[in-house]
């Protein structure tokens, strides 16, 4: 076993073969022989003047119920307090960037879905933007509006999948199920339009695959009619409760400087005072014609992130209504060559995804396949932030704090 942090990456180990910081039976600070301590895991010496308990290392994940996928957060605990922490990722690495080099430009959408598996439309759109930029492809208006509409539906669905489990991690079970109900409605809309519930394969360079169906539109409109009531109900059942507020206010604070230097985009940045939303500041598609506002907060704690995202959801509902009402007529796909060849060069496509700025930086060497695709994962940057703000919190807060960053490990590992 060469290195500690690789041990768990093989799930076939049995108890006897297991070496490292297992959670069963290794309680002291003494390190097993031959296993280096992760260098990021800073050992905090006990203050001899204070009474303190023995520190121990605790593995949160990769199979822990609250790490939302396959994050392995190794924390050093003094009783309930976290002294230092280190995130280990890589359990979901599939080599998406490498696989993209193997597929034609128009066939990359399935891989992009699997990068950010909760907000696939945005990943696809980012790549489509990059390809259209490089190939100078004119996209019909309707395609842009459909992308935006499906994107907002997906954003709502993804945010429900964040807010509900955030409540679940703090122990509230009912709100999760109520939010899943709404998410289900939105997923049905997505499924009947795109054909997939999570893996859409919908946005292509040059447009979108399918037009919206009348019954999907009717279903979406029906949901939008009750959406405000539903959001109020979610507010009342989870966020209005003082018990929940006590758990999230003032916890996991990301300062403005930290957010700036550590590359926080999206809701994490906005909750820390970075007033930046790509939909407003670098408008793409129909967003320059839409009326919406961008909420920001300055506290940077979990509550601020919840506020920012809750407001984003309300705005999403508003945007969806505007998109449905103002949908232009026309084709949903540009005339594309059977085999797309892009001129040699680089391009960057960006989009305000569910979790932050999703970018796709592509290199083309003039062939039918990409030379290199770089997917900019916002969550990787947020993970570093979460890791930094974890020490000093209590164990229970750490879980909620981690959950509030809305990790999606398909994106971090790719």
């Amino acid at each position: 076993m060469e290195s500690l942090d690789q041990d768990l990456k093989s799930f076939t180990l049995t108890q006897d073969q297991f070496v490292g910081y297992d959670n069963q039976g290794w309680l002291s600070l003494e390190e097993p022989e031959g296993i280096p301590v992760p260098r990021n895991l800073r050992r905090i010496a006990d203050d001899p003047n204070k009474m303190s308990t023995e520190h121990f290392i605790l593995n949160l994940g990769p199979c822990h119920p609250s790490t939302h996928g396959v994050l392995r957060e190794v924390v050093e605990l003094d009783g309930e307090n976290i002294k230092s922490s280190e995130a280990h990722v890589g359990y979901l690495h599939r080599g998406i960037e490498k696989l993209c080099e193997n597929s034609p430009w128009t066939h990359l959408a399935p891989y992009m879905d699997r990068a950010d598996y909760a907000g696939g439309i945005y990943s696809e759109t980012a790549l489509a933007h990059a390809v259209e930029e490089l190939g100078e492809i004119e996209v019909p208006d309707r395609a842009h509006w459909l992308r935006a509409l499906m994107g907002e539906v997906n954003r709502m669905a993804s945010h429900f999948l964040w807010l509900g489990p955030l409540g679940l991690d703090s122990g509230a079970m009912a709100p999760f199920l109520y939010m899943i109900w709404d998410r289900e409605t939105l997923l049905e809309v997505l499924e009947s339009v795109t054909g997939g519930r999570l893996m859409f394969n919908y946005v292509r360079p040059g447009g979108v695959l399918n037009d919206i169906t009348p019954d999907a539109e009717a279903k979406l409109r029906k949901w939008l009619d009750i959406a405000d009531d539903r959001m109020q109900e979610h507010w009342d059942v989870l966020m209005a409760s003082e018990l929940f507020q006590q758990r999230v206010k003032g916890i996991g604070v990301v300062s403005h400087e930290m957010a700036m230097s550590m590359g926080a985009t999206g809701f994490v940045g906005r909750a820390s005072g970075i007033d930046w939303d790509l939909r407003r500041d670098r408008p793409y598609g129909p967003y320059s014609q839409l009326d919406f506002n961008v909420a920001t907060a300055t506290e940077g704690d979990i509550w601020a992130r919840i506020m920012v995202r809750y407001d984003e959801m309300l705005n999403s509902i508003n945007i969806m209504r505007q998109l449905l009402d103002g949908m232009p007529e026309g084709p949903h796909m540009a005339k594309m060559p059977r085999v797309l060849r892009l001129p040699k060069g680089e391009a960057y496509g960006l989009v305000e995804g569910c979790r932050g700025e999703i970018g796709a930086h592509i290199y083309s060497d003039g062939g039918t396949t990409p030379y290199r695709v770089r997917y900019r994962p916002p969550i990787q940057y947020h993970l570093a932030i979460a890791d930094t703000v974890l020490p000093g919190q209590m164990l229970a807060d750490a879980i909620v704090s981690l959950a509030s960053f809305d990790f999606c490990f398909g994106e971090v590992d790719r």
Binding site: A174, E191, S192, G195, V237, E242, L243, V339, G367, T368
Partner: protein, 182 residues
């Protein structure tokens, strides 16, 4: 914001839960009652049949080359004289398929589709890898009517008796397929 002396929020939450306690449930009683699948839902790949009950597949192999994860494998024997194709096996690995639908989009003859049956679990691995068509003649493509020939006539074809088609590194093969299409 002034600190509230009395926690009204928790009673609000209790009220919502009380309301939901009497709401109709939202679940589907799965084995007895099924979720109506939308038309566009993409699940396992199936072959289409024409009015006479013969398969529409012409064994052109475009889906095979398109598939990003090589879940489709068509074992074809070509008559050297008439260029008629005989499909020995039309193998489809459902376990590896990621239901992206690129094969269906790329099929120039509209010969495959994705059905909406979600019950794809099987007891054995062998049942997941299925033969959609065994030992049938491929439909004679109206090659003139088709947009472009699927494969050049002089392109190397797997010969009869060969278990595996000749393979090359995937990049080259993908590139070639596209060139022939263009």
């Amino acid at each position: 914001m002034s600190k509230k002396w009395f926690p009204t929020g928790i009673f609000k939450a209790l009220g919502i839960v009380w309301k939901n306690l009497w709401r109709k449930n939202i679940v589907i009683d799965y084995p007895w009652e099924k979720y109506p699948m939308p038309e566009r839902a993409r699940w396992s790949v199936q072959l289409k049949y024409d009015e006479e009950g013969a398969i529409k597949c012409t064994a052109c192999g475009i889906c095979e080359k398109t598939c990003p994860i090589c879940a489709i494998q068509i074992d074809v024997t070509t008559d050297p004289e008439t260029r008629d194709k005989h499909i020995n096996h039309w193998e489809y690995e459902r376990g590896g398929c990621m239901m992206c639908g690129l094969c269906v989009e790329s099929c120039p003859f509209d010969a495959i589709y994705q059905d909406t049956n979600i019950e794809l679990a099987h007891e054995s691995r062998d049942l997941i890898r299925i033969d959609l068509a065994t030992d049938v003649d491929a439909a004679k493509a109206k090659r003139a009517a088709a947009p472009k020939p699927a494969a050049k006539p002089d392109a190397p074809k797997p010969e009869a008796g060969e278990e595996k088609p000749a393979t090359k590194p995937a990049t080259e093969e993908g590139g070639k397929a596209d060139e022939s299409l263009a």
